[in-house]
Protein backbone atom coordinates (compact mmCIF):
# COMPACT_ATOMS: atom_id res chain seq x y z
CA UNK A 1 0.00 0.00 0.00
CA UNK A 2 2.80 2.39 0.89
CA UNK A 3 5.10 1.28 -1.91
CA UNK A 4 5.51 4.88 -3.10
CA UNK A 5 7.38 5.68 0.10
CA UNK A 6 9.70 2.72 -0.30
CA UNK A 7 13.31 3.72 0.58
CA UNK A 8 14.67 2.54 -2.79
CA UNK A 9 12.19 4.74 -4.67
CA UNK A 10 12.87 7.75 -2.49
CA UNK A 11 16.65 7.32 -2.55
CA UNK A 12 16.84 8.37 -6.19
CA UNK A 13 15.09 11.65 -5.42
CA UNK A 14 17.03 12.51 -2.26
CA UNK A 15 20.24 13.60 -4.00
CA UNK A 16 18.26 15.83 -6.39
CA UNK A 17 16.36 17.47 -3.51
CA UNK A 18 19.57 18.03 -1.50
CA UNK A 19 21.22 19.73 -4.49
CA UNK A 20 18.12 21.84 -5.16
CA UNK A 21 17.85 23.03 -1.54
CA UNK A 22 21.59 23.76 -1.41
CA UNK A 23 21.30 25.89 -4.55
CA UNK A 24 18.60 28.23 -3.19
CA UNK A 25 19.17 28.06 0.57
CA UNK A 26 21.92 30.66 1.07
CA UNK A 27 20.23 33.27 -1.16
CA UNK A 28 16.97 32.86 0.75
CA UNK A 29 18.82 32.96 4.07
CA UNK A 30 20.45 36.32 3.19
CA UNK A 31 17.09 37.76 2.03
CA UNK A 32 15.30 36.55 5.18
CA UNK A 33 18.03 37.87 7.51
CA UNK A 34 18.02 41.24 5.71
CA UNK A 35 14.27 41.54 6.25
CA UNK A 36 14.43 40.31 9.85
CA UNK A 37 17.40 42.38 11.02
CA UNK A 38 17.32 45.50 8.82
CA UNK A 39 14.14 46.12 6.82
CA UNK A 40 11.43 45.19 9.35
CA UNK A 41 10.43 47.99 11.73
CA UNK A 42 10.94 47.88 15.51
CA UNK A 43 7.82 47.32 17.60
CA UNK A 44 6.25 50.45 19.16
CA UNK A 45 6.31 48.77 22.60
CA UNK A 46 9.10 46.17 22.51
CA UNK A 47 11.49 48.11 20.28
CA UNK A 48 14.13 46.05 18.45
CA UNK A 49 13.76 43.09 20.81
CA UNK A 50 10.77 42.07 18.66
CA UNK A 51 13.28 40.81 16.06
CA UNK A 52 13.82 37.76 18.30
CA UNK A 53 10.33 36.74 17.16
CA UNK A 54 11.74 35.91 13.71
CA UNK A 55 13.72 32.99 15.11
CA UNK A 56 11.62 32.18 18.18
CA UNK A 57 8.19 31.75 16.53
CA UNK A 58 9.26 29.62 13.50
CA UNK A 59 11.35 27.44 15.86
CA UNK A 60 8.32 26.84 18.12
CA UNK A 61 6.06 26.08 15.13
CA UNK A 62 8.56 23.57 13.72
CA UNK A 63 8.97 21.96 17.16
CA UNK A 64 5.21 21.44 17.49
CA UNK A 65 4.69 20.36 13.87
CA UNK A 66 7.54 17.84 14.05
CA UNK A 67 6.16 16.16 17.15
CA UNK A 68 2.63 16.04 15.71
CA UNK A 69 4.08 14.47 12.55
CA UNK A 70 6.03 11.90 14.60
CA UNK A 71 2.90 11.02 16.62
CA UNK A 72 0.80 10.58 13.44
CA UNK A 73 3.50 8.33 11.95
CA UNK A 74 3.63 6.33 15.20
CA UNK A 75 -0.12 5.71 15.05
CA UNK A 76 0.17 4.70 11.37
CA UNK A 77 3.08 2.45 12.27
CA UNK A 78 0.92 0.67 14.87
CA UNK A 79 -1.83 0.15 12.28
CA UNK A 80 0.14 -0.67 9.12
CA UNK A 81 3.40 -2.00 10.66
CA UNK A 82 5.46 -0.14 8.07
CA UNK A 83 9.04 0.23 9.28
CA UNK A 84 9.60 3.15 6.96
CA UNK A 85 7.29 5.30 9.11
CA UNK A 86 9.55 4.62 12.03
CA UNK A 87 12.61 5.44 9.94
CA UNK A 88 11.11 8.82 9.03
CA UNK A 89 10.17 9.54 12.69
CA UNK A 90 13.68 8.67 13.79
CA UNK A 91 15.10 11.24 11.35
CA UNK A 92 12.58 13.96 12.29
CA UNK A 93 13.04 13.67 16.08
CA UNK A 94 16.53 15.29 16.34
CA UNK A 95 15.30 18.20 14.18
CA UNK A 96 12.31 18.64 16.51
CA UNK A 97 14.59 18.54 19.55
CA UNK A 98 16.90 21.16 18.02
CA UNK A 99 14.02 23.57 17.36
CA UNK A 100 12.37 22.95 20.74
CA UNK A 101 15.68 23.86 22.40
CA UNK A 102 16.03 26.93 20.17
CA UNK A 103 12.45 28.03 20.95
CA UNK A 104 13.15 27.74 24.69
CA UNK A 105 16.55 29.51 24.52
CA UNK A 106 15.40 32.36 22.26
CA UNK A 107 12.20 32.66 24.33
CA UNK A 108 14.35 33.08 27.41
CA UNK A 109 16.46 35.71 25.62
CA UNK A 110 13.25 37.52 24.65
CA UNK A 111 11.79 37.17 28.14
CA UNK A 112 14.60 39.03 29.89
CA UNK A 113 14.14 42.43 28.16
CA UNK A 114 10.33 42.20 27.92
CA UNK A 115 9.25 40.48 31.17
CA UNK A 116 12.37 41.16 33.21
CA UNK A 117 13.10 37.47 33.77
CA UNK A 118 14.88 34.67 31.89
CA UNK A 119 12.47 31.98 33.05
CA UNK A 120 9.04 31.54 34.67
CA UNK A 121 7.26 28.28 35.41
CA UNK A 122 4.15 29.30 33.50
CA UNK A 123 1.97 27.00 31.40
CA UNK A 124 3.40 27.72 27.93
CA UNK A 125 7.05 27.57 28.90
CA UNK A 126 6.69 24.53 31.18
CA UNK A 127 4.73 22.60 28.53
CA UNK A 128 7.48 23.42 26.00
CA UNK A 129 9.98 21.96 28.48
CA UNK A 130 7.84 18.80 28.64
CA UNK A 131 7.91 18.65 24.83
CA UNK A 132 11.70 18.73 25.00
CA UNK A 133 11.63 15.84 27.52
CA UNK A 134 9.36 13.80 25.20
CA UNK A 135 11.78 14.38 22.31
CA UNK A 136 14.73 13.29 24.47
CA UNK A 137 12.86 10.14 25.60
CA UNK A 138 11.95 9.31 21.99
CA UNK A 139 15.56 9.66 20.82
CA UNK A 140 16.93 7.75 23.84
CA UNK A 141 14.52 4.87 23.19
CA UNK A 142 16.08 4.43 19.74
CA UNK A 143 19.61 4.93 20.98
CA UNK A 144 19.64 2.67 24.02
CA UNK A 145 17.14 -0.12 23.27
CA UNK A 146 19.09 -2.59 21.18
CA UNK A 147 16.13 -4.76 20.11
CA UNK A 148 14.69 -2.86 17.13
CA UNK A 149 11.04 -3.93 17.44
CA UNK A 150 11.00 -3.07 21.13
CA UNK A 151 12.61 0.33 20.44
CA UNK A 152 9.96 1.06 17.79
CA UNK A 153 7.12 0.09 20.14
CA UNK A 154 8.41 2.13 23.08
CA UNK A 155 9.28 5.21 21.00
CA UNK A 156 5.86 5.07 19.31
CA UNK A 157 4.19 4.90 22.72
CA UNK A 158 6.23 7.92 23.88
CA UNK A 159 5.11 9.87 20.81
CA UNK A 160 1.44 8.91 21.25
CA UNK A 161 1.47 9.84 24.96
CA UNK A 162 3.40 13.03 24.16
CA UNK A 163 0.82 14.22 21.63
CA UNK A 164 -1.45 15.11 24.60
CA UNK A 165 1.04 17.89 25.33
CA UNK A 166 0.60 19.56 21.90
CA UNK A 167 -2.90 21.05 22.45
CA UNK A 168 -1.79 22.00 25.98
CA UNK A 169 1.10 24.03 24.50
CA UNK A 170 -1.11 25.54 21.82
CA UNK A 171 -3.99 26.61 24.06
CA UNK A 172 -2.02 27.21 27.29
CA UNK A 173 -2.06 30.97 26.68
CA UNK A 174 -5.87 30.89 26.50
CA UNK A 175 -6.62 28.36 29.24
CA UNK A 176 -4.32 29.81 31.90
CA UNK A 177 -3.17 33.22 32.99
CA UNK A 178 0.40 33.39 31.70
CA UNK A 179 3.14 35.93 30.99
CA UNK A 180 3.37 34.62 27.44
CA UNK A 181 1.38 36.66 24.93
CA UNK A 182 -1.62 35.08 23.20
CA UNK A 183 -1.53 33.94 19.58
CA UNK A 184 -1.13 36.66 16.95
CA UNK A 185 -1.40 34.23 14.06
CA UNK A 186 -4.14 31.61 14.08
CA UNK A 187 -2.94 28.92 11.73
CA UNK A 188 -6.19 26.94 11.92
CA UNK A 189 -8.42 29.71 10.56
CA UNK A 190 -5.66 31.64 8.76
CA UNK A 191 -6.09 34.99 10.53
CA UNK A 192 -3.29 37.27 11.70
CA UNK A 193 -3.06 40.46 13.73
CA UNK A 194 0.56 41.07 12.70
CA UNK A 195 1.31 43.91 10.28
CA UNK A 196 2.59 42.86 6.84
CA UNK A 197 5.95 44.55 7.48
CA UNK A 198 6.55 41.99 10.25
CA UNK A 199 4.63 39.09 8.72
CA UNK A 200 6.84 39.00 5.59
CA UNK A 201 10.15 38.50 7.49
CA UNK A 202 8.43 36.00 9.78
CA UNK A 203 7.25 33.90 6.83
CA UNK A 204 10.63 34.23 5.08
CA UNK A 205 12.43 32.98 8.18
CA UNK A 206 9.91 30.14 8.47
CA UNK A 207 10.58 29.18 4.85
CA UNK A 208 14.36 29.22 5.38
CA UNK A 209 14.13 27.12 8.54
CA UNK A 210 11.75 24.66 6.84
CA UNK A 211 14.23 24.26 3.98
CA UNK A 212 16.96 23.67 6.56
CA UNK A 213 14.79 20.98 8.21
CA UNK A 214 14.20 19.33 4.84
CA UNK A 215 17.94 19.33 4.16
CA UNK A 216 18.82 17.77 7.52
CA UNK A 217 15.97 15.27 7.22
CA UNK A 218 17.07 14.14 3.74
CA UNK A 219 20.68 13.71 4.85
CA UNK A 220 19.63 11.77 7.95
CA UNK A 221 17.21 9.61 5.95
CA UNK A 222 19.92 8.86 3.39
CA UNK A 223 22.29 7.92 6.24
CA UNK A 224 19.69 5.54 7.70
CA UNK A 225 19.13 3.83 4.32
CA UNK A 226 22.90 3.38 3.87
CA UNK A 227 23.14 1.98 7.42
CA UNK A 228 20.42 -0.60 6.63
CA UNK A 229 21.96 -1.49 3.26
CA UNK A 230 25.40 -1.88 4.85
CA UNK A 231 23.98 -4.27 7.43
CA UNK A 232 22.46 -6.43 4.69
CA UNK A 233 25.15 -5.97 2.06
CA UNK A 234 25.50 -9.67 1.25
CA UNK A 235 21.76 -10.03 0.78
CA UNK A 236 21.45 -7.13 -1.67
Amino acid sequence: MFDFINPSNIFRLIEKFINFINSIFYILLIIALTFALILSPPDYLQGDSVRIMYVHVPSAWIALASFTFIAILSVLNFIFKTKNFNLISKCVAPIGLLFTSLAIITGSLWGQPTWGTWWVWDARITSMLFLMIFYILFIMAHKFIKEEDKAIKISSLIAIVGIINIPIIKYSVEWWNTLHQSQSIKLLNGTSTIHTSMLVPLMLMLLVLLLYCALIFLMKYKTEIIRIKKKNIKRL
Partner: protein, 77 residues
Amino acid sequence: MINNFISMNGYGLYVWLSFGITILACAYIYYKTYKTLKKYEKDFAKELNLLSASEKKIVVEKSKIAAQILASHNKSI
Protein backbone atom coordinates in the same frame (compact mmCIF):
# COMPACT_ATOMS: atom_id res chain seq x y z
CA MET B 1 23.66 54.02 11.66
CA ILE B 2 25.98 51.01 11.99
CA ASN B 3 26.19 51.63 15.75
CA ASN B 4 22.39 51.61 15.90
CA PHE B 5 22.30 48.38 13.93
CA ILE B 6 24.76 46.71 16.28
CA SER B 7 23.25 48.02 19.51
CA MET B 8 19.64 47.50 18.31
CA ASN B 9 18.66 50.42 20.54
CA GLY B 10 19.87 48.65 23.65
CA TYR B 11 18.53 45.17 22.75
CA GLY B 12 21.62 44.14 20.74
CA LEU B 13 22.83 41.54 23.22
CA TYR B 14 19.50 39.65 23.21
CA VAL B 15 18.84 39.96 19.47
CA TRP B 16 22.36 39.00 18.35
CA LEU B 17 22.54 36.16 20.86
CA SER B 18 19.22 34.75 19.61
CA PHE B 19 20.25 34.87 15.95
CA GLY B 20 23.82 33.79 16.74
CA ILE B 21 22.79 30.75 18.79
CA THR B 22 20.23 29.72 16.15
CA ILE B 23 22.72 29.99 13.27
CA LEU B 24 25.55 28.29 15.17
CA ALA B 25 23.35 25.43 16.41
CA CYS B 26 21.94 24.88 12.92
CA ALA B 27 25.43 25.01 11.36
CA TYR B 28 26.77 22.53 13.93
CA ILE B 29 23.91 20.05 13.31
CA TYR B 30 24.39 20.43 9.54
CA TYR B 31 28.13 19.75 9.86
CA LYS B 32 27.56 16.72 12.13
CA THR B 33 24.84 15.26 9.88
CA TYR B 34 26.98 15.77 6.76
CA LYS B 35 30.02 14.15 8.41
CA THR B 36 27.95 11.14 9.55
CA LEU B 37 26.50 10.71 6.05
CA LYS B 38 29.94 10.77 4.46
CA LYS B 39 31.27 8.34 7.08
CA TYR B 40 28.49 5.85 6.31
CA GLU B 41 29.06 6.24 2.56
CA LYS B 42 32.77 5.56 3.10
CA ASP B 43 32.07 2.54 5.34
CA PHE B 44 29.61 1.17 2.77
CA ALA B 45 32.17 1.52 -0.03
CA LYS B 46 34.81 -0.13 2.16
CA GLU B 47 32.46 -3.03 2.97
CA LEU B 48 31.67 -3.41 -0.72
CA ASN B 49 35.36 -3.53 -1.58
CA LEU B 50 35.81 -6.43 0.84
CA LEU B 51 33.57 -8.56 -1.38
CA SER B 52 35.02 -10.52 -4.27
CA ALA B 53 34.86 -8.89 -7.71
CA SER B 54 31.97 -11.10 -8.83
CA GLU B 55 30.00 -10.53 -5.61
CA LYS B 56 30.58 -6.78 -5.88
CA LYS B 57 29.38 -6.80 -9.49
CA ILE B 58 26.20 -8.66 -8.53
CA VAL B 59 25.47 -6.25 -5.65
CA VAL B 60 25.97 -3.13 -7.80
CA GLU B 61 23.89 -4.58 -10.65
CA LYS B 62 21.09 -5.81 -8.40
CA SER B 63 20.81 -2.85 -6.04
CA LYS B 64 20.31 0.60 -7.54
CA ILE B 65 20.85 2.10 -4.11
CA ALA B 66 24.26 0.42 -3.74
CA ALA B 67 25.32 1.81 -7.12
CA GLN B 68 24.15 5.28 -6.13
CA ILE B 69 25.89 5.20 -2.76
CA LEU B 70 29.09 4.19 -4.49
CA ALA B 71 28.71 6.96 -7.08
CA SER B 72 28.02 9.55 -4.37
CA HIS B 73 31.07 8.36 -2.39
CA ASN B 74 33.31 8.47 -5.46
CA LYS B 75 32.10 12.01 -6.23
CA SER B 76 33.04 13.24 -2.77
CA ILE B 77 36.61 11.87 -2.76
